[in-house]
């Protein structure tokens, strides 16, 4: 089997010196795919993603990006390596304009990023319209678009989203998912944690159901949606 593009292999670890929250958990994603992490509250979904991003102390396990071992790198160094991360909250600069937010996303780039800016505006037309407005004045869905756009500005090799649809209305959620699919179609691997399991599984090429920090079920989104045990224990029928 070939190595996936990004993989967190058999990760065990927790915050600081605290107890392990993840137990031998494996998460992976390949180009063109949307990988989704779902699971009940407190299952360690966000923790698993933070582990891949280096915000957790791993007791064992490794993280590989494009074949390179990045287990010991700090989150900042991983950004330079090509990981784009969108935190769940506080993920925009509220006092800065939309365009400035995007510029800050490209801070580590030394080349001309006007092309990327146009791509992001093309993907999220509303942002172009509001590019001179302070991002803090936008609606919840628009803010999430700014946040995703900011992460895309580094031209990442992989995009990681921590509950991008938390606190937005169902209509906005559908729209956001559409955009995420569009991003994935460009060939960019997308790894995302979702609270809305059913909708997330519908768009997932690869899905992980976590229970108490361990892999409970793995498969494509369709497979898991069809899996009676997943339905019974987790999707409520």
């Amino acid at each position: 089997m070939t190595q996936p593009f990004l993989i967190g292999k058999a990760m065990t670890g927790g915050y600081g010196k605290g107890p392990a929250i993840l137990n031998d958990c494996t998460i992976a994603v390949n180009p063109g795919e949307i990988a989704v992490i779902v699971g009940p509250n407190g299952a360690g979904k966000s923790t698993a993603m933070k582990a891949v991003f280096g915000m957790l102390n791993l007791h064992s396990g490794r993280v590989l990006l494009d074949g390179e071992d990045i287990t010991t790198l700090s989150p900042q160094e991983r950004v330079v390596k090509g990981m784009g991360f969108v935190p769940q909250t506080h993920n925009i600069f509220t006092s800065m304009t939309v365009e400035e937010n995007l510029e800050m996303g490209a801070f580590i780039r030394t080349d001309d990023f006007t092309d990327t800016l146009e791509q992001v505006y093309h993907l999220f037309p509303i942002l172009k319209e509001k590019r001179r407005q302070p991002a803090g004045q936008l609606s919840g869905g628009q803010r999430q678009q700014v946040a995703v756009g900011r992460a895309l500005m580094t031209k990442p090799k992989v995009l990681m989203l921590d509950e991008p649809t938390a606190g937005v209305s169902p209509i906005v959620m559908d729209e956001l998912f559409d955009r995420i699919i569009e991003v994935a179609r460009t060939g960019l691997p997308v790894l995302m944690v979702e609270q809305n399991a059913r909708q997330a599984l519908e768009i997932a090429d690869r899905a992980y159901v976590l229970v108490t920090g361990a892999n409970a079920h793995t498969g494509t989104g369709k497979e898991l949606l069809a899996d009676p045990e997943v339905r019974r224990s987790f999707l409520g029928g």
Partner: protein, 336 residues
Amino acid sequence: MDLLNAFVALANFVLIPGLAYGSQLALGALGVTLVYGILRFSNFAHGDTMAFGTMAVILITWWFQSIGIHLGPLPTALLALPFGIAITAAVMIFTDRTVYRFYRKKKSDPVILVMVSLGVMFIMNGVVRFIIGPDDQSFADGERFLISARTFKQMTGLQEALAIRTSTAITVVTAVLVVAVLFWFLNKTRTGKSMRAFSDNEDLALLSGINPERVVIVTWLIVAALTTIAGTLYGLDKSFKPFTYFQLLLPFFAAAIVGGLGNPVGAIAGGFVIAFSEVTVTYAWKKVATYTLPESMAPDGLLQLLSTDYKFAVSFGILLIVLLFKPTGLFQGKSV
């Protein structure tokens, strides 16, 4: 004619001094607010840093004067200013490396950093008094007036005079220039934007690859420039005395809080709010009233709301009102 006289008196004693004082406060409050926004603590050493910077400028000015370098009608201090800023900047970077950085890395509580700034305040204060002494120092030279009272009266034939001192004009012009450059820097340059980003959301700034240490150093450089300029302008316009500079801490903080801590636009607005309140409340309105009111209503008293000795009470009163009614300030500063 009387109305014109009244207006001239008002301009001479309220508007122009308020404008100059407001500019000085705005520059000082900008320093306070930048440190608060980026380093996230109230810097109690700010007044004494200002005294230090001004002292550096004064010493260099004296040296220039002694070797015969002058700026013609302008005060020699302007020529010494860049050197004073450089010295102050060096001292502030040194202080950050040796003192503040340790607590920043440890992510100490802001109140601990405030304590630490008390220690820095003591040291700065001791150094300034040791080098230049605790007394008043004068270092202004060049033309004293742009328009003297007599010229104005001859020109206009009015009873009241509008005297514009060189130092006042320099203060206002410099402040406008400095503020323009600062806002250009913060809003248009990459480094400036990264400072705003860092102040807005530290974690996200780190995720975006902004180097916090670089942001901090740039902040101290700007603060060094702002304080030294503010202190020199204040010293030229009024006089230099280390203790007075320490006391300016209160109006600075009041201005920064009134505008909204961490918000540069707010600091400027706050500076002028405090300055004009102070000047209007402590001004004796008798003269203006005599010109504007009919003779029968001419006032007996000075019509002064508060004696100038209580100017701090004005800063303080405004501060209390803001804390009570709008703790985030007029321009939405950081959280309370």
